[in-house]
């Protein structure tokens, strides 16, 4: 009888340890993915001026694109210096919206397409924005895992003992401006044929 109790106790201790380790390691990994987002954003803010400098000569009449690129860069550097994850993720998204537009222009312009430097800068920028997307996704998944374990029984008991707190992670689209539909968006678009 005493052996059975002892065996149960040992299993219980191992279980508590594994749950504890889950919370601690997930927290660390969340931190690492935030770090990754920050690193890639910094890289982007270094790459963008290079792209602007090397492509500007070809794209004199594409001023709109450069304005978007510049404002993306400004948002990125302010997000990086603020250290706020949500701002960083949004800034990353802004660049990944601008990039396809530049890509279209590059593809349609044989002169600029032949420029190796522009090509490699575009590749680098696409890569950094992909990395941000994946790090962002991992961050969301990890926080979700963590927060679910935090409130579900029986892992919630362990979380309670060691006082693990809810992770904020990224703000989901449950709140904020993303969900609001502006009047302009609600209007039926007019199409002139």
């Amino acid at each position: 009888m005493i052996y059975v109790l002892f065996a149960i106790l040992v299993i219980l201790i191992f279980w508590v340890i594994s749950i504890y380790n889950f919370f601690v390691s997930t927290k660390t990994r969340v931190g690492a993915s935030i770090q990754e987002i920050g690193n890639q954003l910094k890289r982007q803010s270094e790459l963008i001026p290079n792209l602007e400098a090397s492509a500007k000569g070809y794209l004199k009449h594409e001023k709109g694109i450069f304005d978007e690129l510049t404002s993306a860069r400004k948002q990125i550097s302010s997000a990086v210096s603020s250290g706020d994850v949500n701002k960083m993720a949004d800034a990353g998204k802004m660049l990944s919206d601008v990039l396809p537009k530049i890509q279209v222009i590059v593809e349609s312009n044989p002169e600029i397409k032949a420029n190796e430097l522009v090509k490699s800068l575009m590749d680098e920028l696409r890569d950094t924005s992909d990395k941000i997307m994946y790090a962002r996704r991992l961050l969301i998944d990890l926080t979700a895992d963590y927060n679910v374990k935090l409130v579900t029984f029986p892992s919630s008991v362990v979380a309670g003992i060691f006082r693990f707190e809810k992770l904020k992670g990224l703000e989901t689209s449950e709140e904020g401006d993303k969900l609001k539909v502006t009047e302009a968006e609600a209007k039926t678009p007019k199409i002139n044929l």
């Binding site: 990754e36 890569d127 990395k131 994946y134 790090a135």
Partner: protein, 315 residues
């Protein structure tokens, strides 16, 4: 026809895959235990050495284990040695290198070591005993023919093999298949030489064991291998679903699979020992469509059309 109409999401597919995979692996374990028991009993009768049943299993396990152990522990080096691969670097293989980095970020695993095999047939494989010692190889053909999104699908497929410990499972399974094959072989040899005991010494149970033992000796290595292949195919579906969980873009892997399968070249560096590692069957089957499920039984990979169907249902 009703299952085609019923669309499953990624998580349901993964769950179903895990359950099926679990059943096949359990069935395999039961089969190995049964075959070992029968073969060892029959061997014991021939050798007249009844209490040594476990001893025989021990020797067989040791022999079959030792070869696989090296295969398991040094699989990366062995495979790389065979394939003539060179390490990838960021400058020469920018897309491959960065895509692998990105998918690793998404999957939350360390970036595997990356190698390029100079071969124009498009294919890729993963090996290594755990995520920390993982290796991904891609052929130059694959890197040239696929665009970035397609390559993401293929790399994500390989990374989910790594994440699911498929290479480890397949190593254990092949030790077991080797064990049965050895025991069967020994029994056949023992029966050839007749053993030392006389006919009238044998009880009816021992003769039943002898007959059943011979049947097992002939059939079980084949059956074991077929189950091994079934496990391998099930794991391919699992890796496809896992890839979609990482990239969330079934279209990339689908179009990569179409490109890979429509390529006529066979991979020169592949052999039977490494076939299950690749993203698609490296031996292009010449008899596709004509033989149906019987030929499928002997394949390490499910037919591409089936995989594409499964992927599209997740879209």
């Amino acid at each position: 026809m009703f299952y085609i109409l019923y669309m499953k999401n990624i998580y349901e597919v993964q769950r179903a895959n895990k359950i099926k995979s679990f059943f096949i692996v359990t069935f395999f374990a039961v089969f190995v235990a049964l075959a070992t028991y029968v073969l060892v009993r029959a061997l014991g009768i021939y050798s007249g050495y009844m209490p040594g049943n476990l001893g025989i299993v021990g020797i067989a396990l040791f022999v079959s284990g030792i070869s696989s152990f090296f295969g398991y522990y040094y699989s990366d080096k062995i495979v790389l040695g065979i394939s003539g691969a060179r390490p990838a670097n960021r400058n020469n293989d920018f897309v491959f290198y960065t895509v692998a980095q990105n998918i690793s970020i998404g999957a939350g695993v360390p970036v595997p070591k990356l190698y390029v095999i100079p071969d124009s047939a498009p294919n890729a494989f993963a090996t290594g005993r755990d995520p920390k010692h993982a290796v991904i190889c891609a052929t130059t053909g694959l890197l040239e023919k696929l665009d970035r999104t397609e390559l993401e699908g293929v790399i994500a497929h390989e990374i989910s093999h790594i994440k699911n410990y498929d290479t480890r499972l397949m190593s254990v399974v092949s030790v077991m298949v080797g064990l049965i094959a050895l025991l069967g072989d020994w029994l056949m040899r023992a029966s050839w030489f007749g053993g030392k005991s006389d006919d009238d010494n044998r009880s009816s149970t021992s003769s039943i064991f002898l007959v059943v033992g011979i049947v097992f000796a002939i059939l079980s290595p084949i059956i074991g291998q077929l189950i091994q292949l079934a496990i391998s195919r099930r794991r391919e579906y699992g890796a496809d679903a896992g890839a979609i969980e990482i990239t969330r873009q079934p279209s990339g892997l689908v179009s990569a699979l179409i490109k890979i399968s429509s390529d006529k070249e066979a991979l020169e560096v592949a052999n039977k020992a490494t076939a299950h590692l690749f993203v698609s069957n490296p031996f292009k089957d010449k008899n596709q469509g004509s033989v149906g499920w019987f030929a499928d039984l002997f394949n390490t990979h499910p037919p591409i059309s089936e995989r594409i169907k499964a992927l599209k249902s997740m879209a």
